[in-house]
């Protein structure tokens, strides 16, 4: 079966609704399918990657640490739209560091997060075969 390029488009804030958590569940399952996987975080979706999230006081599942495991699942193409960050007064430093180890480069630790312009993200979208929207 030919490999397809899957893009997960995340546009919703976490905690207020379940879309972020259930999107992450698809990504983790999907990682087993040997397709090319890319994640995009746009609009309020960028809030999913904020540091220091701790949902213990609202009693819901604390899924924020799971993003850091994505690298181990070979999910390391993570695009964040710069315009969305800027509008919200955020920079890359406000996001969790997400990294992966490059097998082909002596397991060097590399950054999974690419902060890109709208124009660059539009190209990423263009290259995909399947778009899943959350």
């Amino acid at each position: 079966m030919a490999s397809k390029k899957f893009l997960y488009v995340n546009r919703k804030a976490p905690h207020g609704s379940i879309y972020a958590l259930e999107s992450l569940e698809v990504v983790l399952i999907g990682a087993a399918f040997e397709q090319e996987v890319t994640l995009a975080f746009i609009d309020d979706g960028v809030y999913q990657l904020l540091k220091n999230q701790d949902s213990s006081a609202i009693g819901s599942k604390n899924f924020s640490p799971t993003y850091r495991a994505l690298g181990d699942y070979d999910v390391n193409q993570i695009y964040v739209e710069r315009e969305s960050l800027e509008l919200r007064g955020l920079t890359k430093e406000d996001l969790m560091p997400l990294t992966w180890e490059d097998e082909d480069d002596d397991w060097a630790e590399k950054d999974s997060i690419h902060v890109v312009s709208s124009a660059e993200l539009a190209e990423v979208i263009e290259q995909q075969d399947v778009l899943l929207n959350f």
Binding site: H15, S17, I18, I58, G59, S60, K61
Partner: protein, 130 residues
Amino acid sequence: MKFSIMVNEGPYTHQASDSAYHFTAAALKAGHEIVRVFFYHDGVNNGTRLSIPPQDDRNVCTRWSELGQQHELELILCVAAAQRRGLLDEDEAKRAGKNSDNIAPGFEISGLGQLIDAGIQADRLVVFGD
């Protein structure tokens, strides 16, 4: 003070039910009276006894049942909203010729009039939704 609570969204999907739960628990702790918790729109989905959340997550539905039994709360699901969405008690299931029902202990199905009455009886009606 007397509070009524309206919950407009189902379990897990939106935070509304969680926020309403924490608010209700805090109001009870502060010694306030809860006239009624009224579940409307998708809020009726909080009243299912068939939910099986992951073990590392809270059980939204059971938690309402337990708070209700502990404090003798009226937990009312709107009948029209519930029927549309497939939430039935034993009587209604029988009447509609359905072979099963799914509402959880402590929840009751009743009419929309209970919402208006909740607004009349309480000093404050607080609405949680999407």
